[in-house]
């Protein structure tokens, strides 16, 4: 009974963490930019948080603030050149950035290279995670409909037209990249203090794909879509695990298969979430 509760509890925690990560991808998607740097941002946040906790007595709120702030600061010099790139080029450049971050941690002896940091005190609980998610949701909900929010929509729909309406598109895109980096870093900090450990292997390309899948499946037309997607894709494999193993699937491939099939089905038949990505070819 107790085991069941613990399993259930960690599921709830991961829904929250994954929800934050999906929102971090949504932050750039909602102005039409496919940035895949977020696993890298997450790593920076996770390592920053873990190092502060391991080497100081800073209160947890300060640790989380630093975890969010560090990748946000990195996002500024990254974004300035990279956001000039369009479509797939932005995606590729940010994939490259994410992998460079991962390699940096693999090669950094101070954080034990590929082994990563272990025995991080568990300081994040369910309520910290969900409160963070609530704050992020509130922030994004209030952006919608504001002058800033309409500008983002305009950029997503037609960047050139938006510029001639007086919208500084670079500044807006940069702001959202920085916000996304902050959210990813926050999620990284929370996860590090929930699972006791950080290791570079957890922040590879596969991780950012997972975030993207959750955001897209939930739908990026509304700010709560990504969180719904994260919840759905975090919980569903657990619910269906039994059925999967009865069909002769091992849990790992089964989860992958589900993710892939659901993502494909959503893109082909439920493009609502993707309508928001509509862009004209330059």
């Amino acid at each position: 009974m107790r085991d069941l509760f613990l399993a259930y509890q960690s599921l709830v925690a991961f829904v929250g963490i994954n929800g934050l990560l999906a929102l971090s991808v949504y932050a750039t998607l909602c102005c039409g930019q496919l940035s895949l740097a977020n696993a890298g941002f997450m790593a920076i946040g996770a390592y920053t948080g873990a190092l502060i906790t391991l080497h100081s007595n800073a209160p947890f709120i300060a640790v989380l603030a630093a975890a969010a702030l560090a990748p946000a600061l990195v996002a500024v010099p990254l974004g300035l050149p990279v956001l000039r790139l369009r479509g797939v080029f932005l995606a590729i450049a940010t994939i490259g950035f994410g992998e460079m971050v991962r390699l940096f941690f693999v090669n950094w002896d101070y954080t034990n290279g590929a082994m990563g940091l272990v025995a991080i005190p568990q300081r994040a609980g369910l309520w910290t995670i969900w409160l963070s998610l609530a704050v992020a949701l509130y922030l994004l909900a209030r952006v919608r409909g504001s002058r800033f929010g309409t500008a983002l929509e305009a950029i997503r729909e037609d960047e050139t037209a938006a510029r001639t309406m007086g919208i500084d598109t670079t500044a807006h895109k940069l702001a959202m990249l920085v916000l996304g980096a902050g959210l990813a870093g926050l999620a990284g900090g929370l996860e590090a203090h929930y699972t006791f450990m950080v290791a570079p292997g957890g922040y590879g390309f596969a991780r950012v794909v997972e975030m993207l899948v959750q955001a897209v499946v939930g739908g990026t037309a509304a700010f709560f879509g990504p969180v719904a997607g994260a919840a759905f894709l975090t919980v569903l494999p657990e619910v269906l695990r039994e059925a999967g193993s009865r069909l002769g699937f091992a849990p790992g491939p089964f989860r992958l298969l589900l993710n892939g099939l659901i993502l494909l089905a959503v893109i082909l038949y439920l493009p609502n979430g993707l309508v928001s990505l509509k862009r004209r070819k330059a």
Partner: protein
Amino acid sequence: MLSLGQVSKAFGGVRAVDGASFEVEKGEVHGLIGPNGAGKTTLLNLISGLSQPTGGAISLDGARIDGLPAHRIAAKGIARTYQNIRLFAGLSAADNVVVGQYLQRRAPLWRRLLLLPSARREEREALRAAEETLARVGLRGRAHERAVNLSYGEQRRVEIARALAAQPRVLLLDEPTAGMSAPEADAVARLVREVAREGCAVLLIEHNVKLVMALCDRITVLNFGQVIARGSPSEVAKEPVVIEAYLGGA
């Protein structure tokens, strides 16, 4: 008000605009005509900052604006429409116009984050103003239709409304009546006249020669990127080079 001095734009070896000079005065409707490929749209892109001239100067009230990024030029009071309509397709007509108000709105995000009533008031006001602007182009009833679902002529009018929402000092219109029925085009022409009377400088690219002759105070004729004639409609119509360019180009 808006003045172009020896403006040129070369793409590779091709000079799309070649030393064009003219001025658009406050309250004037200024026609820009010429055969297809004469460089008219390129010139509009240069003025609005979507591309940079390779030579010459563009100034607004005596201050150089060429070289500035497009959003800064817009902030100086230059708004435009596009030949191949560039509405925000997924947004409603009203929301398109609300984006047009971007430079006019004063609504810091922090007020919204704190749930201040003033923020909500400002938003309602923006929407109401947008509906009013749409009424000016005869689309009051279509405000909440998504832009993609509007007819071609309606989309053109939403674009004009979106440009007007910025309360521009200079309005650049790229074939605003293309694809419109005659009554629709007349309504647009009346509106353009009215906007000019309110003190806006209007630069208008138009293929409908009858409409241009009736509507414009002055006309500049481009061919192969060069100004080949300028003056009042009746003067321009008499120029042999113009007749030749049009007949030769056709």
